[in-house]
Amino acid sequence: MISAQLFVSIIVCLFIPFGVMLPACAYLIFLERKIASWCQDRIGPNRVGFSFGQDNLWRALGMNFMNRWSFAGFGQALADGIKLFFKEEYTPPRADLALFLLAPVLVVVPALLGWAVIPWGGVVEFPGLSIGGRQLVEAGVVSVAAAPLNIGVVYILAIGSLAVYGVVLGAFASNHKYSFLGGIRATAQMVSYEIPLGLCVLIAILTFQTTDAGAMVNLQATSISSGGGAWGIFQHPLLAVIFFTCILAECNRAPFDLPEAETELVGGYHTEYSSMKWALFFLGEYMHMITGSAFFAVLFLGGWSVAPFIGDLPLISGGWMGLVVVLLKFHVFVGKVATLLIVMMWIRWTLPRFRFDQLMRLAWQGLIPLTVSVLIVSGLLVYLQWNTWWMFCLANLAVAIGGAALAPHMPRGPAVNRKVRLAGSRFYPPLPEGEA
């Protein structure tokens, strides 16, 4: 007989990676190409169906429609995945072989681990399971997460920051200049943006007084009248923006995709990788996006709760209706994650890439002072017990306005990299009479 939590954990462990994460990654790439094409006024992939070029086979089976229908291009993701297995697996002779093979695994392991504490379906009263009179699973109150650790959000942060090892090892082992440049850029960027990320989580912990992801969501999903809190985004609007920016940077997404800036570094840290080894880097990036969005939803969007301020769904559900509620919670959660992912893609195809000095300046001279100020102000508010959601909200807005007011008066660096006006352009001061 196994305990209820272990049973549910095993189901989630098997279902989420193979039922949600991997198909989602494949179709996120498809979605990204579609969004790119909408942003650029193209049609995008719409030809590849599920025939996989086996025209004669389908004809012999009497399923000729497989050849003719394109299924709106939905075969693209599957075909790409299968194709990658059949590509040449190239290992450069000058590379450090052990590290070169280790790096893609090191990228994909933290990416597959990070989501473990995400409370996908809240808490449910499991009735127990018995087959033929023998009780196999005992009854109990369980959390629908792979691993409901009490250090939840710290775990996500810890595992998430391991991703940098895969990137930097892959870059170093390739023994290639573009990879190397991409690798040190990636390290500097991920390391810099981890500090504001960690500070945001710290302030969220200070606000919710817990590190358990499930308890945080429960707190946000309770109504105000029964002592719950508002969604994190209403308590800390400034932090929500900073946190989202940091997630983009941690995932190496545009506008922070300098480590793989294709116009400067060919492919960045994965220039020398091919076939499934390259695909593991790509999978890692998309899984980090999913985990990051889920993390954002836990901290700031109330996890599975449908609407803010009113406790809509019950915290604990039991019986057969409990299963329905769990599925409902799961779909609300996934809906929020999907929305955030689409916003990420929208940002990628809308904003131009940062320059490296701008990137570092944004992290160290913008986000870190702002988050430290919010931390000190929040600590003060908690000490005075003014910790209602609108006090935190006002404090955030005050820090944002204060930062915006102070920014023009900060000391400026040397005059390199300033805009140089092109002589004769409309930004150039008008030339004196007679010279024009």
Partner: protein
């Protein structure tokens, strides 16, 4: 309010299961693509790709010291943040504010702890650690 039926052990067991699954997935992909894909070698193919130029030197070379300094500053801040997590969990439940010495003391200690890092941060800023131009 909410009591989970089980001890923490099964939760970490699930993490262990996930580690095995993730590592297995990665290694499976490495082996599968090695077995299935074709393999051809050649002198020019094995050359370092540098946008068509003949490669000059090796990639194992010295790089700008700024990256090292940024990594050190990161360590300073990251360790500080890790030490602040237990404080953040417990601070709000330390007691009522009026005349409570414990709460005030912990606020001031946190403030001093953050201040030490802020001093280092301002020094690094003044030294131009965060300037990349």
């Amino acid at each position: 309010m909410l009591t989970l039926a089980d001890s923490q052990f099964s939760a970490y067991a699930a993490v262990g299961l996930l580690v095995l699954m993730a590592a297995g997935f990665g290694i499976f992909n490495l082996i599968a693509s090695t077995l299935i894909g074709p393999r051809r070698r050649g002198k020019v193919k094995e050359m370092v790709y540098e946008s068509g130029m003949n490669p000059v030197g090796d990639a194992r070379r010295r790089f700008n010291v700024r990256f090292y300094v940024v990594a050190m500053t990161f360590l300073l801040f990251d360790v500080e943040i890790v030490f602040l997590y237990p404080w953040a969990v417990n601070f709000a439940s330390l007691g009522p504010p009026e005349g409570d010495q414990l709460s005030l003391m912990f606020l001031l200690r946190m403030g001093f702890f953050v201040l030490t890092s802020v001093v280092a941060f301002v020094y690094a800023w003044g030294k131009g650690v965060f300037r990349y131009d």
